[in-house]
């Protein structure tokens, strides 16, 4: 059913390479995080989470930047691939934003003494999470041909909003002095910390690329099957029509 031409094969090889590469790097950086890095003088073992937390935050922001670019490209070219990329990147971005919020809280409780603080970075990340949850909801609820267009639009609006959200939350907190936080910024990081962090960043970025590649592929296969009428999709049915019967069983 799917053409197994050279392009297809090449893409499979690239995706596999991304997967294996990110797996290797993740293994090495995880080993480094737990066995090579020394406990922080002030924070002890809690500081190790930085090698997960920071790369996850980086991936989340990268993902939403890709959503923004894909949104513009989709509106200009109307090519389905940009829509697939935007959707895949948004899903991975929301996943990683969730992980950032969770790992941040896990670190914050022993170090700050609280799970949450209205620090500008935390505030902005939380708002990002809400913004792109909305993006995914629009994709799920929009009437058939409109979903990709609306999503592209929201991806652009959301990304344009991020700097303003950050600025306003910085000012908001400046006016209400918060407890002094940010122990990592106060001290000079040693070279080994920087190298391990860079390694983790590379590992997570590759992992992101792998997830997006796989997700785009699923999206393309799904679109192909739907166009051949093999998978009745509730999301594609007009409003008011009955739900498809046994949709999943026919894949």
């Amino acid at each position: 059913m799917l053409r197994a031409d050279s392009e297809e094969l090449e893409r499979g090889v690239t995706t596999r390479a991304l997967g294996i590469g990110s797996l290797l790097l993740l293994v090495v950086s995880t080993y480094g995080t737990f066995f090579l890095a020394r406990p922080d003088r002030v924070q002890g073992d809690a500081a190790r989470i930085v090698y997960f937390h920071v790369p996850m935050a980086w991936v989340a922001f990268l993902a939403f930047f890709v959503v923004f670019i894909a949104g513009i490209a989709y509106l200009r070219t109307r090519k389905a691939i940009w829509d697939h990329v935007g959707r895949a990147s948004a899903e991975v971005g929301v996943l990683f934003t969730t992980l950032v919020l969770v790992t941040g809280s896990i670190w914050g409780f022993p170090i700050w003494g609280t799970w949450w603080s209205w620090d500008p970075k935390l505030t902005t990340t939380l708002i990002l999470w809400f913004l792109y949850l909305g993006y995914l909801m629009v994709r799920a609820y929009a009437e058939p041909p409109r979903g990709p267009r609306y999503a592209a639009l929201l991806g652009i609006l959301g990304f344009a909003d991020v700097p303003i959200v950050y600025l306003s939350s910085v000012w908001w907190r400046t006016l209400h002095p918060a407890p002094v936080i940010g122990p990592l910024a106060a001290q000079q990081p040693s070279a080994s910390i920087v190298w391990l962090l860079l390694l983790s960043l590379a590992a997570f970025t590759l992992f992101y690329a792998f997830l997006v590649a796989v997700r785009v592929r699923i999206e393309q296969v799904g679109a192909g099957l739907r166009s051949q009428g093999e998978v009745p999709s509730y999301a594609d049915a007009p409003i008011g029509s009955p739900a498809p019967h046994g949709g999943a069983a026919r894949i």
Binding site: L75, I127, F130, L131, L133, G134, M137, V138, Y141, A142, E143, P145, R146, R149, Y150, A152, L153, L154, I156, L157, G158, A160, D161, I164, V165, L167, S168, S169, W171, W172, L175, I239
Partner: protein, 231 residues
Amino acid sequence: MTANRPRYLRQLRALLWKEALVESRSRETVLAAVIFALLILVIFSFAFDLRVDQAAAVAPGVLWVTFSFAGDIALGRTFARERDRRTLDVLLLAPVDRSAIYLAKLAAVVATMLLVEIVAVPASIGLFNLRVDGPRLALSLGLGTLGFAGVGTLLAAVTAHTRAREALLPLLLFPLQVPVILATVKSTAAAIQVPGGEAADAGSWLALLAGFDVLFLGLSVLLFDYAIADD
């Protein structure tokens, strides 16, 4: 569009007239939004113990939550009404510039929200026993309302074509509105005079609001065509 300025203005005037006429005949949006806002204010008075010494601190937040909810109602109605009566397709068939449709809808939402504010602000001044600096409050309300309605009108056009509709609109709108809410609450607080308190400076917040308004009004005009076009 700019080459044909008189024509564009004529279109805009006709669309504004249509909005005013529809609302004056049905009165469903303005009345609902105003009464809803008053109700919210009363509920806030129950929910918080708003004595004089606390009222000045809580009132800006109360006011802006109220206006956001009332604005959400106004926005939810503006395109849903067109959809329910199947007039949206006709509107799109009319030989008018799409941005004129956006601006007319925006004007209708802003007008509704301003009416809500004209009723709710004096009511809250009475309920919470506030002293306000009129012009500064008006500036804050005006910029905030424009920012809220500007991107809100675009999102209302989007959510009118989703299954969840009114439920989805605030989920998209409120996260985007975080800077507007923060800035308006702060600048409104600066316009409320606290006995014995120093006048706070709200200049940078108003500048942020103005920046938000310009950026998102521009983006909304640019993107509105994609929100409403049928392809």
